[in-house]
Subunit: 332 residues, 2 copies
């Protein structure tokens, strides 16, 4: 069995074989092995977070990650952005006939590894096969369920004027990694995707939960889109300080060369946090001690102007450009 | 805005516009309008059912339904097959650039209507756009969360020798509807897909819950695959009686003509129930009074042979053929 055949999608013995050999082997848990129509999960709680994303990233393997790691981390991070503890994922595969089983195995292994890092299990799944030319290799959908602790109230609507804005690390790495791998240019040192689960950082933020108002991961549309989302949903203005924005020198110079704004590039292992100003320094310090949090920075403040602006090192201020549409297609 | 553009997938203003105009309009609820990274849901329970399916059906519109109705009913039915009350769905769209907004609107409306019928809400979503030729029009993933009542214990493993097997209606309608619409042949009267939510039938079955052991919807792989699944998971034999199998005459004659086995055709609004024999007649009568249950029938019994067999009207018995692989690609 080297490639996926149309008959692997038929729902019979061959489908079962593919699922067992490629997926169950790696996503080992009692729920999946049952092969029931739904997983039944016992959880002691009152509120759950529920989210979904389909992943169509191109190429499937890129510096710093692959579609499998992305599909786990992206959905885990969306749960975390509501303050939830991620618990369970579903994984659904749309596979183009002829796709190499070797690559499918690599991707499933990568998903299993990311699940272990994030502390989640894949408990429900689905596999569809379409003919050659009807999909581009592989698309993955993951949905996620997490537990929201009783006293957590994190929402895009909670920012207040005078808050501080923190980014958990360097900006634009995922977008630039995809762009460079797709167009065949390299950096020295190389730019890798930041694709990773933010479980550790959010665990740490939960220790300051009275002070944490908004969490958002700046994926498609980048930090710029997230700042506009926060401004609109909370009815606040946002000012960021250009000299405080953490960005790798290679990403910055590539952006300058290509005429791109790194604030509009996708990130897949970063979060933007809006926190109460008096706790901002302590929170920043705590994030810096986390895995994936080393380059965290306070990048700005909220205000009551209603505008989203950037203050330049010269002291002038300009309206931040908001992404209109596609900057880089199939970034995630 | 007539067709979907690549820039509709970029995560910026245009993505937001597409989501608001096409989806939020139809899937109206407070969770989606928040446009947060995850929906936070308050539910009072201890056990939830969680499932996912991607839908790649071709064509997107077929007699009796469309991909939207299918994507809602398929996932709702998978939750119901564990005895769960379906509550919340996510919906994720992978759209080929150039797809007509008019068709997307029709499909979203159809999803909203199916949700109302099933009593569920779409509370989380995602939209990705890929270039022309990178997907075949539209793929939809739905994941679902449902509440499992404390005293419900329905599982593919629960069948016991001597139980009765009930099918909730005519067999093979969805498969034949897709096949005929794809190949341009028509029936008089027409064969329509049975695509529908089984909420009413499962509500009724819950009144007999001590007697209901297994529920399974015979989608890909058809009734034949489900009978094999039950046999293997519960360690029982199954014998079905050919003369008791409900099948529309047009479906039967088309199967004979095309050399197909209707027991291997997909159904999208039917369930197979394994019930305690003493309650079978009462349960059958109750199902027959439900929407979508009019043609229900007791089709066989379980035994301790370990084999899955068909008894013919002549009194002879043969091993039921099990679907190996693809019978009809992209059936759901």
């Amino acid at each position: 069995m080297d490639v996926v055949l149309a008959s692997h999608g038929g729902g019979g013995k061959l489908t079962e074989g593919l699922i067992k050999e490629v997926f169950l082997n790696k996503f080992k848990n009692s729920f999946l092995n049952e092969m029931e129509d739904s997983a039944v999960l016992e959880i002691d709680f009152e509120r759950i977070a529920f989210t979904t994303d389909s992943y169509t990233v191109k190429p499937l393997f890129f510096p710093g990650g692959d579609i499998g790691r992305l599909a786990v981390c992206g959905t885990v991070n969306d749960l975390l952005m509501r303050g939830a503890k991620p618990l369970f994922l579903s994984a659904s595969f749309i596979i183009e006939e002829g796709f190499r089983i070797h690559d499918l195995n690599k991707i499933a292994s990568s998903m299993a590894k990311a699940c272990r890092e994030a502390g989640v299990e894949i408990v429900a799944g689905d596999t569809k096969v379409v003919a050659r030319g009807e999909a581009d290799g592989l698309f993955i959908n993951t949905a996620g369920v997490g537990l929201v602790p009783k006293d957590v109230n994190i929402s895009i609507k909670n920012a207040q004027p005078g808050d501080r804005i923190i980014i958990s690390g360097t900006i634009g790495d995922h977008g630039m990694a995809i762009l460079s791998s797709r167009n065949g240019f390299t950096f020295d040192p190389p730019v890798e995707s930041d694709c990773g689960p933010l479980v550790g950082i959010v665990d740490t933020l939960n220790k300051f939960k009275e002070a944490v108002r908004v969490l958002r991961d700046p994926t498609r549309g980048g930090v710029a889109e997230v700042l506009y989302n926060i401004s609109e949903a909370s009815g606040v203005g946002v000012e960021i300080h250009e000299e405080n924005l953490p960005v790798k020198p290679q990403v910055l110079s590539a952006c300058n060369m290509l005429g791109l704004d790194y604030l509009q590039l996708a990130n897949e292992g970063k979060l933007v946090a809006v926190v109460e100003s008096s706790a901002a320094d302590k929170i920043l310090k705590a994030i810096k001690n986390c895995k994936y949090g080393h380059d965290a920075a306070i990048i700005g403040t909220t205000n009551d102007t209603g505008q989203v602006t950037v203050r330049t090192p010269l002291g002038t201020s300009r309206i931040l450009s908001r992404p209109l549409g596609e900057l880089i297609p199939r970034i995630c």
